[in-house]
């Protein structure tokens, strides 16, 4: 995997907004003093009249976006996931979710790969928060290709969408001619028969690595990329669970309320299956490089490999 191109999905986010700017004249982008970091600065440069810096006031930014959308704009609000989804939860719920307004929320710097900034800025709870809001679509892209496709799909979909992006560069794994992104449709990346690994975001690449290592040990792992946490591709998950009988979820998020919980909700209702959830185990993160943190918290290929191996034996 070392030769694979790496791009942070926050970069993809900014680039996708620029790409979509011409096609969607009503697209506007709002920031809260973090345009440089959320990478929407490139949109600001391309469309200065359609970029609104609200200053360090995320809750107001959210309300402004709500107001703009009632007048026909398609606003993207950008901030770190901690603020876009965390600080803002009630504004998103009441000013965007309840009236089902056409506002898109770009939460960047999600999860522990924020790195050195430490626990205050490492949001491991955003997916849990956002997916509780009725009518909210929640997307966690795995790489550059998926992130750019997700931004366009979010624009084309009427209603609120939460998109989760990362700070750290991640391998491009979906750069193939037949790649197709559809909201709510998971992607079967590798077929297997002994265990299913369901991943989202940065753990998709890790899961593929882990599957290779497991194969060397004679364990056949199926790998599914669930880029849309809500609505969840239940059919794909149930079918795979039926086949393998064992499911592991892997996410750069708390194991409470995120992908793992969504998969458990689905399986416990329709296909009771033993599930192991890999993710942040009800703990805060800490300062460190993204790579060191991913390793420490077991979200890299090796970490997932070790846990899956233990789970299946």
């Amino acid at each position: 995997m070392s030769e694979v191109k790496k791009i942070a999905t926050r970069e993809s986010y900014g680039n996708a907004l620029v790409e979509c700017g011409a096609d969607f004249p009503n697209l506007v982008v709002l920031d809260a003093d973090l345009a440089g970091a959320t990478k929407t600065g490139v949109f600001k440069k391309a469309y200065p009249d359609r970029h609104i810096d609200c200053g360090i006031a995320e809750c107001n930014m959210t309300g402004i976006a709500a107001g703009l959308s009632t007048c026909g704009k398609i606003p993207f609000i950008s901030s770190f996931a901690m603020f876009a989804a965390g600080r803002n939860f009630e504004q998103v719920r009441n000013s965007i979710g309840y009236p089902h307004l056409n506002v898109k929320i770009g939460g960047t710097h999600a999860g522990i790969t924020v790195g050195e900034d430490g626990a205050t800025h490492q949001c491991n709870e955003d997916v849990a928060l956002m997916r509780t809001i009725p009518g909210m679509t929640v997307i966690v892209p795995a790489d550059d290709v998926e992130a750019r496709a997700a931004v366009r799909a979010a624009i084309e979909k009427e209603g609120p969408v939460y998109l989760r992006f990362g700070r750290a560069a991640v391998p491009v794994i979906n750069d193939r001619p037949d790649y197709k992104f559809e909201i709510g449709k998971g992607v079967l990346l590798k077929e297997g028969s002994d265990v299913t690994i369901v991943a989202s975001g940065i753990t998709v690449a890790s899961a593929l690595e882990a599957a290779e290592m497991l194969a060397a040990d004679g364990i056949s792992a199926e790998v599914i990329n669930i880029h849309t946490i809500k609505p969840l591709d239940k059919e794909l998950i149930i079918a795979s669970a039926k086949k393998t009988g064992k499911v592991v979820t892997a996410e750069e998020h708390s194991v409470i309320g995120g992908l793992g919980s969504a998969v458990c909700d689905c399986l416990s209702e329709s296909q009771p299956t033993r599930v192991m959830k890999i993710g942040m185990q009800d703990v805060f993160g800490e300062s460190g490089t993204a790579a060191a943190l991913v390793e420490k918290y077991g979200l890299d290929g090796k970490g997932i490999y070790a846990k899956v191996k233990e789970f299946v034996s």
Binding site: I52, C59, G63, T70, S95, Y98
Partner: protein, 278 residues
């Protein structure tokens, strides 16, 4: 409408408020009654709207940031012809399109869902910003409670509106002086309200918000104010028009029982009769 007609209309709006809250057996009459003249002036005189076409593209917008006074908004909308006045008693009932707090998807004429204090003003700012971006000439009005301005988001929104010189925005504060826990200056004083908005680069007008001459003058002044948003700080009387509710914090969020309802309606009938003698 002349002043007398506005007064008569506001009295009908007040009857609708009391009837709605009585029908709901819950709700917020005090702050709806204090703002009834403001609602009436906006919907019968100031705003460019069409009850037959509630989503008219270039209409003026109104956001009830103090969303708990939905009975006031619903009553004025009904009296203006957006929906039947007879539906007001369905307020807060299961299945009613008159939700406890404004819901833009349910109720004709409601431009923004609101009720969580401090959020409506931001949406109004967004509407005003959209108007500027698209070079439209509609105006945006938002009504806040004086307790509501304790919310920090109000000042985030005000800073932005002042910074962006949104002169198509009018922020109205219903300064009735009372909030659930008591007098606003006992709970956590927001005073001086005018100086605060001035500091956030607003043109500020202080008026008696239960006086139509002053309301008319203030909204005209706001219309003629260029290069900055306007804040109209309206001194009002909570519960205005209903004897036992006036100035009584206990009627912030309580419905009258049948006997109290009869007294309230009799009070308002009396006002109406007096206005008809003029």
């Amino acid at each position: 409408m002349n002043k007398l007609e506005l007064q008569k209309t506001a009295n009908e709006v007040r009857k609708g408020i009391v009837t709605a809250v009585h029908g709901a057996k819950a709700g917020h009459p005090g702050g709806s009654l204090s703002a009834a003249d403001i609602f009436t002036y906006l919907y019968f005189e100031e705003m460019n709207i069409d009850p037959k076409n509630p989503k008219m593209e270039n209409r003026d917008r109104f956001v009830l940031s103090k969303g708990h006074t939905a009975p006031g908004l619903y009553s004025v909308l009904a009296n203006r012809g957006y929906f039947p006045v007879e539906d007001l008693p369905t307020l807060r009932h299961l299945g009613s399109y008159l939700q406890g707090h404004p819901c833009m998807q349910e109720t004709p004429g409601v431009d923004m869902s609101s009720g969580s204090l401090g959020q409506g003003i931001s949406a109004a700012v967004g509407m005003a910003l959209a108007g500027k971006m698209d070079d439209k000439d509609y105006r945006v009005y938002t009504l806040l409670g004086d307790g509501e301005i304790q919310e920090g988001q109000v000042w985030e929104a005000s800073m932005f509106a002042g910074h962006r010189k949104l002169d198509n925005l009018v922020v109205i504060v219903d300064n009735n002086g009372l909030q659930i826990d008591g007098k606003i200056d006992d709970v956590c004083s927001p005073y001086p309200i005018d100086k605060k908005f001035e500091a956030f680069n607003f043109h500020v007008i202080n008026i008696d918000g239960n006086d139509f001459d002053q309301l008319e003058a203030a909204f005209k002044e706001a219309r003629n104010t260029k290069g900055m948003p306007t804040a109209i700080i309206c001194k009002t009387l909570k519960g205005k028009g209903v004897s036992f509710m006036e100035g009584n914090v206990g009627w912030h969020g309580k419905a009258p029982n049948d006997e109290e309802y009869a007294v309230a309606m009799a009070d308002l009938e009396k006002v109406g009769e007096a206005l008809c003698q003029k």
